[in-house]
Symmetry: C2
Subunit: 341 residues, 2 copies
């Protein structure tokens, strides 16, 4: 009983006008093309009455444009990415673009699948947090002249547009803050991800403790275990094996979440004794006991820069501009967890 969707053709024959006329009217070019008011009204009234929606697939095939931008992150349910998504979307809307969100789980296979899925569907551009192994896929996209902007991290050996923050600086500031507040045995808990953002955070921490003549104490959790019991177990052993640590610096907000759970399980009092600071803010950290100090990325600014670069590429005929490399600064939000004891 599947009734076919009406097409321009059907409307045209129904109203005894040509397809062209209908097309012009529906695209708001009625006046411009000097179509009579009477015909315009007739077409508008009819298409509204049957709630006609043109087939955008056909339209895209014809125009070669989909007016869609893909926004690919590690995990769209993560606070940081979700907030940014909304900012991006708002900007895009005003420019008549739609944004499609997806999560790559920082997995190469998934990233590739998603890139292919959307590339085949002719999206107009990609904003991507790249997983470690997709350098060449990104390169392919660029070679095919598809607008791409990376963010959060980038490939040092690949010329691309990107927007990142100064991770080393920010990690430095956060470590310095702990030291200034009297902490001396600072642990750094991070993942084994060897991408720029993580390496720089580690570097920032190490540089700072070394300058202060303090020891460097690093735990790397395999990325795949980050949210699992295995990861929590690693954090647990690390902390219990080293009762001498007086503070912990977590390199991302999901590690912090696992870490808090572990510490609480092991010894709730420790939550108030240990200095705690984390990369990437989260609503949770404001309401936790104690409130958790965090390095907060300038979301609005990141979103604006990303879209500025993207819209610029979308506008141009050829993508021959030299890549934009933007580095922004993050802000340290001091809360109770890093207070001087």
């Amino acid at each position: 009983m599947k009734q076919k969707r009406p097409a321009l053709k059907d409307i045209a024959s129904k109203l005894n006008v040509s397809i062209t006329t209908v097309s012009f009217v529906l695209n708001g070019k009625g006046k411009e093309k000097k179509i009579s008011d009477e015909v315009i009204k007739k077409i508008q009234d009819y298409t509204e009455s049957i709630n006609f929606k043109p087939n955008l697939v056909a339209q895209s095939l014809r125009t070669g444009k989909t007016k869609i931008i893909v926004f690919m992150v590690e995990d769209i349910s993560n606070y940081f990415f979700a907030k940014l998504a909304r900012i991006i979307e708002d900007i895009a809307y005003n420019k008549d673009y739609k944004v499609l969100f997806c999560s790559n789980e920082n997995d190469d296979k998934r990233s590739r699948e998603l890139i292919n899925l959307f590339y085949e569907r002719q999206v107009d551009g990609f904003i991507i947090i790249p997983s470690a192994g997709i350098r060449n896929d990104i390169d392919d996209l660029i070679k095919k002249n598809v607008p791409v902007v990376l963010f959060d991290r980038y490939f040092p050996d690949l010329k691309t547009n990107y927007v990142v923050i100064n991770n080393k600086d920010a990690a430095n500031k956060a470590t310095r803050h702990l030291i200034d507040n009297g902490f001396k045995k600072i642990a750094f808990i991070t993942t084994d991800v060897k991408q720029t953002q993580m390496l720089d955070r580690l570097k920032g921490y190490e540089e700072c403790v070394s300058q202060a003549q303090l020891s460097s104490n690093v735990l790397e959790i395999p990325f795949k275990d980050v949210n699992s019991d295995k990861g929590k177990g690693l954090i647990h052993s690390f902390i219990t094996d080293h009762a001498e640590y007086d503070s912990v610096f977590f390199s991302t907000n999901y590690l912090t979440q696992s870490g808090l759970e572990v510490i609480k399980d092991y010894n709730p009092n420790l939550l108030n004794e240990l200095g705690i600071i984390t990369f990437d803010d989260n609503d949770l950290f404001r309401i936790y006991t104690p409130t958790i100090s965090a390095v907060s990325q300038p979301l609005q600014e990141i979103g604006e820069k990303l879209m500025k670069i993207m819209l610029n590429m979308l506008k141009e005929k050829d993508g021959s501009d030299s890549p934009q490399e933007v580095v922004l600064n993050a802000e340290l939000i001091q809360r109770d967890s890093s207070k001087d004891r």
Copy 2:
């Protein structure tokens, strides 16, 4: 310098075969159509070497299918929806469908825009948490023979497929649990959303307190203020004005999050004195102090049912089956916050 994407035509002329042959080979019909191994290999090698991706827009236009299902929820960054999204996606993948996620913010205008956006782009089906005012838009989709399944809530006066949980029952169980643990002045904090899921939760609470001869104490937060300071202010006054309440039942997990923040701000000790229970679980609730008791929805089961109904419709020629109305049961997870004091 925009280089055109290669098309079947280009490959065909390059290899001196016809477009048809290329199409057959790329669609794996080479053997079936008895194309010589030599030609098959030639085409495969070449398309791989240039990393050829067919234009799915054209393919969709031709076949009328996009192999895409839309999954529209209130807020994809919410724990509950995000978890469900992954379950849905996994099932869809196995059946060669892709899932596109979007958030309607429980807003009618946004919901409509998204439905139109995807309808115009010919997606094959919709799985939707409907906002209150889009009954007619859903109805339109169904009339146009587009596969639709609602979940979390539904429109009582509209015959549709839906998957929901027994909210009244679950709210009843949760309230009963508080009463059994000795709480006597139970407050119910909810939103002013007048949709089935919220009304049923309220009803479950009210029925239970009334049966137990206890008073009913309800606060309704306007939905738009739910995550704002205004909403928090309302919760704050409600609690401070009524020091006699010994427990609170939050009707959704985001209200709980706001509520916890308010209580903690106002009087941290209250967190341990007040009985607290919430609808919808959240990772946070396991690690909070105290751990928060919650009504947990059977995510896996919901996802499976939704996809079963959807895939069934996708398979059928006509959508003439009578709508499936599925009601599942939720589980009460008892944690510290609702313990007997």
